[in-house]
Symmetry: C2
Subunit: 189 residues, 2 copies
């Protein structure tokens, strides 16, 4: 006698994501997720392998959404301009999903880490803009420089590491402008 599913993997991931964003990673318990979707904790194991797997699914979901935001931000045809809109879209996304963003590039157990393809896909728009600006030989190194800066800045901002006062928005724009010029190939001013 089959029993009808009272919940679904999508519902579990969506609920887990909301709880993660509201209560942080420590607050993301199987019992809380189960209660939100209307089952008991053991039932969750019919839909996800374990808690680490649930974290992975949530982060994949977030990364796909980030990718869409980045894709929408780029595409002006002007790589210099694209790099700016990409960096600002990146920062805006992180600020509206701070808990999830903080885990996106964190050291997590293997089972919780984001899928490689999802990760690669998220970096594409920026890699394209960097390639157009820096030329093919330096494309990857240039993309890594910009990504590292943007991620590092956002991560430190989210962690509250900028404690010396000053204008953080201005520091972001300063870094963005200097970096854009710095990675441009000599013949691409």
């Amino acid at each position: 006698m089959p029993a009808p599913a009272r919940t679904s993997r999508d519902a579990i991931v969506a609920s887990g994501r909301a709880i993660l964003e509201r209560d942080g990673l420590d607050g993301l318990t199987m019992q809380r997720v189960a209660a939100t979707v209307g089952v008991r904790a053991p039932s969750l194991y019919k839909h996800v392998r374990d808690r680490g797997d649930l974290v992975r699914l949530i982060l994949n979901d977030v990364a796909v959404e980030l990718t869409a935001a980045l894709d929408a931000a780029a595409g002006s045809g002007e790589p210099r301009r694209d790099l700016g809109t990409l960096a600002r879209a990146f920062r805006r996304f992180a600020m509206t999903h701070p808990e999830a963003y903080g885990l996106l590039f964190a050291r997590l157990p293997d089972g919780s880490r984001i899928d490689p393809e999802v990760n690669a896909r998220a970096g594409e728009a920026l890699l394209r803009a960097a390639a157009a600006l820096a030329g093919p030989d330096d494309a990857l190194a240039a993309a890594r420089t910009v990504t590292a800066w943007a991620h590092g800045f956002i991560n430190m901002e989210l962690a509250g590491a900028f404690r010396l006062g000053g204008d953080v928005d201005r520091a972001f724009e300063f870094g963005l402008e200097r970096l854009t010029s710095a990675i441009a190939a000599p013949d691409r001013p």
Copy 2:
């Protein structure tokens, strides 16, 4: 009848740090720390407030050591050269203490976050080099640009986010060289 202390806060922090580096944050349990220093878990609460406090003490310890490594790396009198040795020392330290480093700028509960003075002290050497290179007006923004880049690069490298192959060491040197030029004031080539 007073009972002699069978352990100390320093021993607990040192043991906790070793366990953190070996087993990760999830592996850092009060029971394991207690066993290593030779007492039972409840005794630890005579020396630290709770587990979050222990994490804070460990991270403070790591940050102080990082500060010493950075201070030792700088001081050549040549800000351009200092920036390079600082960035490389930063990366080397992170690679030898990956678990602790990954938490240094992570989103942690308030009670686990590093002390503001320890954080400010760690940034001093880099702020000094950046100021010498960028000039007083842009000193803070320039220091934040370099710190963000270095931290972001190292954090992504530790998290295994550079999955497109390529030469990661070369990307680090590329970013370092371009960034150094980018933050230099026009009159400080």
